[in-house]
């Protein structure tokens, strides 16, 4: 069994973010592995613990992201792939999916696991796109994964707390929800061993791609925090007075 876990490094949940142009100002903030992806990694490691499996982690990101890969190796992944080129800064989901697909194509993974979405961009696109590029059956938002006889049975979370059970033949790609397992800590010994595990750094051309073919189609125009309180008007007075004013406003604005 060979499993690929794709993970992304995102700003730490407690980081103070400042928007600058199309993205946040990355200087001086701490990063961590995207929450959703940690569950995907844990699921892969559980499969490895239960039988034989090689777990490969891959990320697309600058130098700082090797820290996330080391952590994953410390938790028990076997090797890591880091893909980067400065032209990839601000890459859209399709670009990311193309790069991951190129890295995965000759590896014949039996299973690709990743988070449902990233904590920072919230797109939920990379998983399904990658599956399509690799020609793999896929499903999203897994709450439970069971493997047997060359297939995966997946419980997915739907709106309103209902669950859907789907079967997929292996190889396949599954994106996972948070909470489907309890994510382990990297042990000290694991972290020390991680130092000796392979971490392959690759550029776009190492993947046999050219920059134009993977250029992003989506550009972010602006990232900002909406100013609070704009357009809000606070009505004052007793409950009766406020109610009366409110009715007046509703009529005035023709809302009813």
């Amino acid at each position: 069994m060979k499993i690929l876990v794709c993970l992304k490094q995102v700003p730490h949940k407690d980081a103070r973010l400042e928007a600058s142009g199309g993205w946040i100002d990355e200087g001086g903030i701490k990063f961590e592995i995207n929450q959703y992806d940690t569950y995907a990694l844990e699921e892969a490691l559980r499969i490895k613990d239960a039988g034989e499996a090689e777990v490969v982690v891959a990320t697309i990101g600058p130098d700082r992201t090797s820290q996330a890969l080391r952590t994953a190796l410390g938790m028990g992944a076997d090797r890591a792939i880091q893909i980067w080129d400065d032209s990839l800064s601000g890459a859209d989901s399709l670009t990311i999916a193309k790069l991951l697909a190129a890295a995965a194509k000759d590896e014949s993974f039996d299973l690709v696991l990743m988070g449902l979405m990233s904590d920072d961009a919230n797109n939920s696109l990379t998983g399904p796109m990658l599956a399509e590029l690799l020609g793999l059956p896929h499903t999203t938002g897994a709450m439970k994964i069971e493997l047997s006889d060359g297939k995966a049975q997946v419980e997915r979370e739907l709106e309103g707390g209902s669950l859907q059970v789907v079967d997929l033949p292996l190889p396949c790609l599954i994106t996972v929800q948070t909470g489907l397992n309890e994510v382990r800590y990297a042990s000290l010994k694991g972290i020390m061993q991680a130092k000796k595990k392979p971490l392959d750094k690759k550029g776009i051309s190492d993947l046999g791609l050219d920059a134009a073919a993977v250029a992003s189609k989506v550009t972010v125009d602006k990232l900002y925090v909406p100013t609070k309180g704009e357009g809000a008007e606070i009505l004052e007075g007793s409950a009766g007075e406020v109610a009366q004013q409110l009715v007046g406003k509703i009529k005035e604005l023709g809302l009813l």
Partner: protein
């Protein structure tokens, strides 16, 4: 070493995740109540594979000790352990990181852990016989059993060696022990106690000049009483207590090194060096946390329509804290480098580091409270606890005044 490596940071991040999940939610009970720290420390050990590592370490110490005995039996000089240059860097860095990270929230917890594994375990490793190591060492290193190391008495602290009243009298092939110890970390809960006293040979040698000996005692031995935790200013996640010994009978198998000259001043001094080194890592964790809390508060707290961080008097406090943090970190990196080179700091160097660390930490915490104003004085804000905890750094492991005398003695030596 000029920077933490990727592996060090990975360990730090994993520790922070554990601390956020297991310690921070219980900080109130740990730091304002009487909840002993041992269960969460054991959980920390098992989570990070430290229990297994410590078990292997204990077993390796026993095996090496046995080999040395065999060599001596053949009339050979036992081979000294070869230290691999560089090999200790990671081990030392990880150990100090663990101390530093825990101290961001619970300096007491580190005290409890350090006294048990470092001082009690350390005494057995350096001076115990093979049989004593086999009997007590591994469970202490893994925290399965809690250790205490008792030298201070109601009448002797700084002058612990000279002023000590506790005695051991020979009795048949064993000893009878008497005396009281106070301020003993883990005293109330300890399973295994290293008890340091004077050998009373029944002659008229003044007590001050009598030879020091030490024993390993077990909880529940007849005549041994362990007090309840003492009330104190801070450091609540480290229980501190008194020990009362009344005619406690101890066989020769409990005499450390099974020799009346094994664990004298040299043994205890070695222990002091280790304690003093640990304080640098402790204070770095506390100062780092204080700086984090203070920068956030300086940006958030508004007076006269401006965040207080825009006032230069507040900026001065923050800048000084950062200078302290950098100095402490560099001291720590030096310790790691020394370990990597297979060297330990001299006692004077360890004292200088400890003195600087303790005083700096106290100054930083007081300024931290000041920066928080009234909120700084309220227990709801963590800075209040850190400030109370900082004071002990200037008292235990040798007071500031005693560190100064050790540094000066070295400087003035002929």
């Amino acid at each position: 070493m000029i920077e933490w490596s990727e592996e060090h940071l990975a360990f730090r991040d994993a520790l922070r995740r554990f601390i956020d999940a297991e310690i921070v939610p219980n900080l109130e009970e740990l730091e304002h109540g009487d909840t002993p720290p041992y269960d969460v420390l054991r959980k920390l050990y098992s989570t990070f594979g430290l229990t297994e590592m410590q078990r292997s370490r204990g077993e390796a110490v026993v095996a090496a000790s046995r080999k040395a005995d065999e060599a001596r039996a053949r009339g050979e000089e036992p081979a000294r352990r070869q230290r691999q240059p560089g090999g200790n860097v990671d081990a030392m860095a990880m150990q100090l990181l663990l101390i530093k990270e825990l101290c961001r929230f619970c300096p007491g917890m580190v005290t409890a852990m350090g006294v048990s594994t470092g001082l009690t375990g350390g005494a057995l490793i350096s001076k115990g016989t093979t049989a004593q190591k086999e009997r007590w060492l591994t469970p202490i290193l893994t925290l399965e059993k809690i250790g205490a190391w008792a030298i201070t008495e109601p009448g002797s602290g700084s002058d612990a060696f000279g002023g000590m009243k506790a005695t051991a009298c020979r009795d048949g092939d064993g000893y009878v022990l008497n005396g009281n110890k106070t301020f003993i970390t883990n005293g109330p809960y300890a399973d295994t106690i290293v008890f340091i006293c004077k050998l009373d040979e029944g002659d008229d040698t003044p007590q001050r000049d009598r030879r020091m000996v030490s024993f390993v005692l077990d909880r529940g031995m007849p005549g041994l009483t362990q007090s309840k935790p003492m009330r104190k200013m801070g450091l609540h996640s480290s229980p501190t207590g008194e020990l009362f010994l009344q005619d406690v009978r101890a066989g020769r198998d409990r005499l450390i090194g099974e020799s009346e000259s094994a664990y004298g001043r040299g043994g205890a001094k070695e222990t002091f060096g280790m304690e003093r080194t640990g304080v640098v890592a402790m204070t770095l964790g506390m100062v780092e946390r204080c700086l984090e809390l203070c920068t956030a508060y300086a940006k958030e707290r508004v007076q006269w329509d401006k965040p207080i961080g825009e006032y230069q008097l507040i900026q001065l406090k923050l800048a000084k804290m950062e200078v302290a943090r950098m100095n402490l970190e560099n001291l720590l990196f030096r310790q790691i480098e020394l370990a990597g080179a297979g060297r330990s700091p001299t006692l004077a160097e360890a004292s200088a580091g400890k003195l600087y660390a303790a005083q700096t930490c106290m100054e930083v915490m007081l300024e931290g409270v000041q920066l928080f104003g009234g909120n700084g004085y309220m227990a709801e804000y963590q800075i209040e606890q850190l400030c109370r905890d900082a004071k002990v750094m200037q008292i235990y492991a040798g007071t500031d005044e005693i560190q100064i005398t050790h540094i000066a003695r070295e400087l003035l030596r002929d």
